[in-house]
Symmetry: C2
Subunit: 238 residues, 2 copies
């Protein structure tokens, strides 16, 4: 008999996005009583050097703190690990190499969800990719979207500076109203340039849009939800 | 140098109440960036036999599953443990004896918050205690309120059967609207019988009232919030 399945969550990046992911997993399960919910163990320790700064070459290395989380989750008995933070996936290979149990890749889960989503009837779908500058420069999403034959466009440098970055940091500081307005502007700029679907490839974006522009969520695939679905499938197969 | 402080959370009772507690802890911290939030490790494994059934003498023993959670949280490096579930405190002594690190008692945290709350000017305060039948029969709150010289009243058997119990299970099944209405009726019955303050001594109650009767929250001390404050003090002293 194998050990019971237990979803490990490497959180803290940021702490609010971690709770948002756990909430999504809880809602996805369709449980009618406590015992039917997906069991989780969550390392939500935000004392990790800033990932966006590190990717830009300007900050301390966040990898040791992330590796400690991976170790602790393995020690606590996790049977798989999810990381509800896109930028952190820049370190995916190193984290995976360090983990006894599999780590689900958030972009693989997203591509699966995009391929399953309804497509516009008369034109090829174009994906508007909302992501951190670090994630864009790492080509975290682009390489896998191209491999899957999916067309996409990304925010301009100006949109990143004026809308996305300040919106993202406002959400982290728990100013959901201002952050939501800025992130909605970032999404609308992509739609104005021809996007037909959105990928909300930074865990703060869905939190902001749900508050400021919930109508855009119907056009969106949210990698955090796609990752929650992957965790739910893992648990149900146990 | 001592190990860094890390708040362990024994959750799963229920999983939604656990997220609610984590959300409160996050809001209590007043953090302006990720790294200022309280670090937590949360065991949110709801595959634990029903605590209310067990206290009523009718179900499997939940203690072994709870002890496993305490072990894993100690193994993961927690420097203290909080249990955001009132009923689970019926097993507090056994859990404490099993833990290397201290477990905060939710009622001690609540008495501290009641003593700090503003009092009505012209009459002695009377506390309306909303709690599970099991917690009431265990005298979990009553013994400590009496020791602190605080007057209180509790729901009648009829109020428990008609309002509190179905309200509580509706919230667990994620039916916040129905659950909230039932739990508001339970609170209003205590106020009609002379209560001047409420103690929301079951983690589902505040979730329900916030939805259905937010005006009652101003009269209420919420043990989950009091427990979050105790965790925050622990972290700030580290």
């Amino acid at each position: 008999m194998s050990a019971p399945r237990l979803v490990g969550v490497l959180g803290g990046m940021g702490p609010l996005a971690t709770l948002d992911f756990l909430q999504r997993l809880l809602e996805a399960s369709g449980a009618r009583r406590d015992q039917e919910h997906v069991p989780t163990v969550t390392w939500n320790v935000p004392q990790i050097p800033d990932r966006q700064l590190a990717l830009a070459g300007g900050g301390a290395d966040p990898l040791p703190a992330m590796l400690q989380g991976i170790e602790r989750l393995n020690a606590a008995g996790a049977s798989c690990i999810a990381i509800p933070c896109n930028t952190a996936h820049a370190w995916y290979e190193a984290l995976s190499a360090h983990s006894r149990v599999p780590i689900f890749h958030i972009v693989d889960a997203t591509v699966q969800a995009l391929q399953a989503a309804p497509q516009p009837p008369h034109s090829a779908p174009r994906i508007g990719l909302i992501a951190t500058r670090g994630a864009l420069e790492q080509r975290l999403y682009q390489s896998r979207l191209e491999a899957a034959g999916l067309e996409y466009l990304v925010p301009t440098a100006q949109e990143l500076d004026q809308f996305f970055m300040p919106g993202c940091y406002a959400i982290k500081a728990h100013d959901i109203a201002s952050g939501g307005r800025l992130l909605a502007l970032s999404a609308e700029a992509l739609l104005a340039r021809g996007a037909t679907q959105l990928v909300l490839a930074c865990t703060e974006v869905a939190i902001g849009l749900r508050h400021a522009a919930p109508e855009l969520l119907a056009l969106s695939v949210d990698p955090a939800s796609a990752l929650a679905q992957a965790c739910l499938r893992h648990w149900k197969q146990g």
